[in-house]
Amino acid sequence: MEQAVQDIDTEQQQQRADEGHEDVIQVRHVAKSFGDNQVLKDMSMVLHKGENLVILGKSGTGKSVTIKCMVGLLEYDAGELKVFGKEVKSLSEEEMKELRSHVGFLFQSAALYDSMTVRENLEFPLKRVLLIRDQADLDRRVTEVLESVGLPDAIDKMPSELSGGMRKRIGLARTIIMEPEIMLYDEPTTGLDPITSKEISELIRSMQKQYKVSSIIITHDIACAKITSDRMLIMDKGTFVAEGTFDELSKSDNEFIQSFFKL
């Protein structure tokens, strides 16, 4: 089955980049293991500026590990991984901090700070990274972002008082409040009802249109992929096995690819 799936041609991607596309993330032949468990194998991809790239893949194939490597949460063992043209592994502490302030990361688990209210959660990075001290400015940004995720009433709640879907949306709010240039969404709609799911997908689209954000969206949700994707990659066993637009891949006659699109 693996042979049937066509390999992604990195040379071709590189060529396209040279033709005027600017790539904000470039990954070449990256490998990553945890002990004996080799999770990423010779993985290559690029993220063009301003595009929404959807990654599909079975559970446990290393999707989360891939984007964690991009922000230096995990260190890859081999290969090249450049974000904004800089090799992530070789960044100093200060450079890493600078890079991270331009990259938003939505955790699969939302990762809200339990000991703080929603407002404090949202203010946390504003105060410490953007160094905003003016309370009126903080309030304005917090209410604005809460409205865009549809939860203006949750402002003084503790994370433990929120439902799973609400936590996810607050996690999203905490990420987009920093107005990043690259967004890495780890399953933004998993666990949400179809209506909220659609709203979040449209929010991701509008982030791209409004702020020219480049995004990687990891998802199992085909409806979300349909709304958000400009281009899609399919991952299997630690490497990418297919690339194309939603329409191209959904019409593919390959059985493995088709299995993602079946309802």
Partner: protein
């Protein structure tokens, strides 16, 4: 991760190395300009104020029990009038610092270990890091400093309450004027008794905060690792306290206090 209960040599050295590295991170972040005052004060409250009842009760009972236990013997030697002095010195120099530190290891170190451990498991620490803020500065520096300050204060409070307990114990069998008792107790305590004990408790405080943070911050994925972090924080912090106490006794003797 290595645990005090497993004893392969390699993992012991690995663990020691990791602790040294973590200590380095603590000191490097200690002297950054944007100190987290708000969180520091919150931690002082959580660590200090919340432990007060436990520490006070413990101090009182220690003073009370030591007095009752020593009274018959002292009486046999006709040395009852030395009881305040003996209790004061033994409380201040040794018993209160060590007992309070061990209690704090149980309460504070395990609390910090569990809290940071669950933050690690639920990716909250990763989230702080990835947003570009500094989790070591926010979580670790504030907690260790709060312990360094609050554990000595708690010990002093336990000393004072211990005197009261001792007075109560003495009063069970005989009437003693409080003025006479406290005069005797305080007159017998010298600066040379208080100072080394106080220094010792600063190190106890550091050990309690540091081990709690280290174990929690470096806990593995998975919910069971929160329990492991809390548990090994208590075990290791207690061990550190005993070792520091042993070193402190040697040092104070050598320095002639």
């Amino acid at each position: 991760m290595a645990d005090a209960s497993t004893f392969p040599l390699k993992s012991i050295f690995e663990e020691a190395g990791n602790q040294v590295i973590f200590m380095g991170r603590f000191f490097r972040n200690l002297f950054r300009w944007n100190f987290e005052w708000e969180e520091f004060i919150r931690q002082c409250y959580m660590i200090g104020y919340r432990s007060l009842p436990l520490v006070a009760i413990t101090g009182f009972i220690i003073g009370f029990v030591i007095t009752l236990q020593s009274e018959p013997t002292m009486k046999a030697f006709g040395a009852e009038s030395f009881i305040p002095k003996m209790v004061a010195i033994s409380l201040i120099r040794e018993i209160c610092p060590v007992v309070i530190a061990l209690i704090c290891a149980g309460k504070i170190s395990s609390g910090i270990g569990a809290e940071l451990g669950s933050m690690q498991v639920s990716e909250q620490i990763d989230a702080m890091e990835v947003s570009g803020s500094n989790p070591v500065q926010y979580l670790v520096v504030t907690r260790i400093l709060a312990c360094i300050i609050m554990v000595p204060l708690l010990t002093l409070i336990a000393d004072a309450v211990g005197f009261a307990g001792s007075y109560a114990g003495l009063n069970l069998s005989q009437r003693v004027s409080p003025i006479l008792f406290f005069n005797k107790a305080f007159n017998s305590v010298e600066f040379g008794d208080l100072l080394p004990a106080f220094f010792k408790t600063i190190f106890f405080g550091f050990a309690i905060g540091f081990i709690g943070c280290y174990k929690g911050y470096n806990s593995n994925r998975g919910t069971e690792s929160v329990g492991i972090a809390a548990n090994s924080a208590v075990v290791n912090a207690s061990l550190w306290i005993i070792v520091i106490d042993g070193i402190a006794v040697q040092l104070t003797n050598a320095l002639g206090y």
